[in-house]
Symmetry: C2
Subunit: 209 residues, 2 copies
């Protein structure tokens, strides 16, 4: 009656392997990463690596899953969901922009897109555990604000999607197409403010802000 919660073998180097895999996969993508590189980066022999993860695809999926969880924990961007939409949204916009302009955001996005043929579930899972959660929280906030008479929205789903997209203006294409790597606070603030102003012009009431 051995209660084995984890189907994977346990040993000292488990986390170590995942960490190395994370580094290399995020840097080089699935094809670009060689198992030898991963083993080296993890400071582990190839045999050990294979004793934990019987093939490269499984290792990759494991890393991706772990990344999604990590993503969830970073979703503290809505803490300040208090009264005033102008304040709350400005804060949310800044957090969102910072996240998808970060190294993490860039790499995860890149891997999702690049590997979408080989791993169709990858993009979906990432979406579910990342952006979709933020979206849901956003909609909750909208509904509260509507009740308070601070917002006026017919289609909350669309509004949430529009807000997220407004946050990508300018910076996201620049990042995705490799035109610019780093983004200053001023650039982020310009886009965040622009997003909130445009959003509130459409959905704000006089009582808001």
């Amino acid at each position: 009656m051995n209660v084995q919660t984890e189907p994977v073998k346990q040993g000292r180097k488990h986390a170590q392997v995942l960490e190395g895999a994370r580094t290399v996969f995020l840097r080089d993508g699935f094809e670009g990463a060689s198992v030898d590189d991963i083993a080296k980066s993890a400071g582990v022999s190839k045999a050990t690596l294979y004793s934990y993860f019987p093939d490269k695809r499984i290792l990759f999926m494991e890393v991706a899953k772990a990344e999604c969880l990590r993503q969830e924990e970073m979703t503290d961007m809505m803490v300040e969901m208090n009264s005033d939409p102008n304040v709350a949204l400005r804060h949310a916009a800044t957090s969102m922009i910072r996240l998808f302009v970060s190294n993490f955001g860039k790499h995860v996005f890149r891997v999702c897109v690049a590997e979408s043929d080989r791993f169709p579930e990858l993009g979906r899972e990432f979406w579910e555990s990342g952006p979709a959660r933020v979206r849901a929280r956003m909609i909750d906030f909208f509904n509260d604000a509507i009740k308070r008479g601070q917002l006026e929205i017919e289609d909350c789903d669309l509004a949430a999607d529009q807000f997220a997209e407004l946050c990508k203006a300018d910076l996201f294409p620049k990042m995705v197409f490799g035109i610019q790597e780093e983004f200053s606070d001023a650039e982020v603030a310009r886009v965040a403010n622009g997003a909130v102003d445009t959003f509130m012009a459409r959905y704000g009431t006089k009582r808001a802000g």
Copy 2:
């Protein structure tokens, strides 16, 4: 004194090779495409292929460049840049959405992102010859409309970027993350109308629409 404008050898099968390469690269990406597949798809022997394009990377860049030109020719989305922003923008939004939700748009985007490490210029060149052109035309239109008193915009660059992003709401993430493949006219119209309404709420004057 042989005036050779093209550094690449020209012959009967030149276009034929490019066409096959286009098909396979767009379908499978750079890594995913094998030269044998390309030769087969082009109806040409591998030796012939290599006599035109001495290596795979060069062939790929050639295809990408051709795609960018093709992109330019499709930029007739602004034909109706006449008086009323409400009409013109609704038309522009629909065209833009249709374009980047198309098979073409999806594949080019995917290849740009996936290959951005191997070909850093690829994304930049695509951006320059595609989105950036649309953006420039958009800004011209804004300036005209501002002179006519139909729009009121402080930061035209940001406004153009916001408009483009608004057009991506909902549909673009769904496409990129493989959640949805085909998009109905109703879905496109919903997003296009939403984009224009939000945009005009912020930047429209009473005289417009």
